[in-house]
Amino acid sequence: MTDTSRGLPERPMSPHLQVWRWHITMACSILHRGCIVGLWVGAVILAAWAAALAAGPDVYAGFLGVLGSPIGKLVLLGETFAVFFNIAYTIRQTFWDTGKGFAPRIADMTGAMAIAFAVVATIVTWVIAGANGAF
């Protein structure tokens, strides 16, 4: 939180985004950071949903109206993807924590699998939501 490195020699930094060649592991890393920030907003939406539920039928209906609007649906679609990608990424990181899965071929494969899982799970979830009367 505080800038403790002032006055000390510059430390080596990781290469900036612009000098990296795009590849799946870095794309996953950036996508996951984006998802984390998105989920932060999602957690606030979840707390707001609980508050609207506690505030009574009228407020709750109004809140659902906002969530059900085109922009609300777009946000929820993004949140769904972020939730599933984060689940897959957590599993991937847990293997990394044990020192496994760092070989480039494996890391590429698990990254691609995480994205594929998130896309498929998001589509399945929204198809079920549609069948449950979301539209």
Binding site: L53, V83, N132
Partner: protein, 139 residues
């Protein structure tokens, strides 16, 4: 680079910075472990959260309140919100620290992140308990 070298970030610290006890203020590891462990808790809870959301799609306030009124749902929903906020306040703080370099903006954002997460947790858990207690009391 051998496998062991990956786990020795200490080589990037100057002897002076180590002597001063600066750097990560000696709590970088606990921050990292909090991230990992809250992430592990969040993964199964968020799977449950998706099922819950699918169950409540299109439900009116009465139905949704009755659902939250069931003890298992009230507890799991609170745990989902709390573990998510612990995980996300920690991870978003790292994102802020990585990309915002001006001391004042960085500090303001880190503090704002913490305040919003604690507020969302307090409002969310209070609301869940209020709904749960009211619904059970009515039966």
């Amino acid at each position: 680079m051998s496998k062991n070298d990956l786990f020795q970030p200490i080589q990037f610290r100057t002897p002076l910075s180590r002597a001063r006890g600066l750097g990560a203020s000696r709590h970088g590891v606990s921050h990292f472990i909090t991230e990992r462990v809250s992430g592990l808790a969040l993964a199964p809870l968020s799977v449950w959260g998706v099922f819950a959301a699918l169950k409540l799609v299109g439900a009116d306030q009465h139905t949704a309140a009755a659902w939250v009124g069931q003890p298992v749902n009230a507890v799991l929903l609170s745990l989902l919100l709390i573990s998510a906020l612990i995980h996300l306040s920690n991870t978003v703080q790292v994102v802020i620290e990585d990309y915002i370099h001006r001391f004042t903006s960085k500090s303001a954002l880190v503090i704002g992140n913490l305040f919003v997460c604690v507020l969302a947790g307090a409002v969310g858990v209070f609301s869940i308990l209020k709904v749960a207690m009211t619904v059970t009391g009515a039966h």
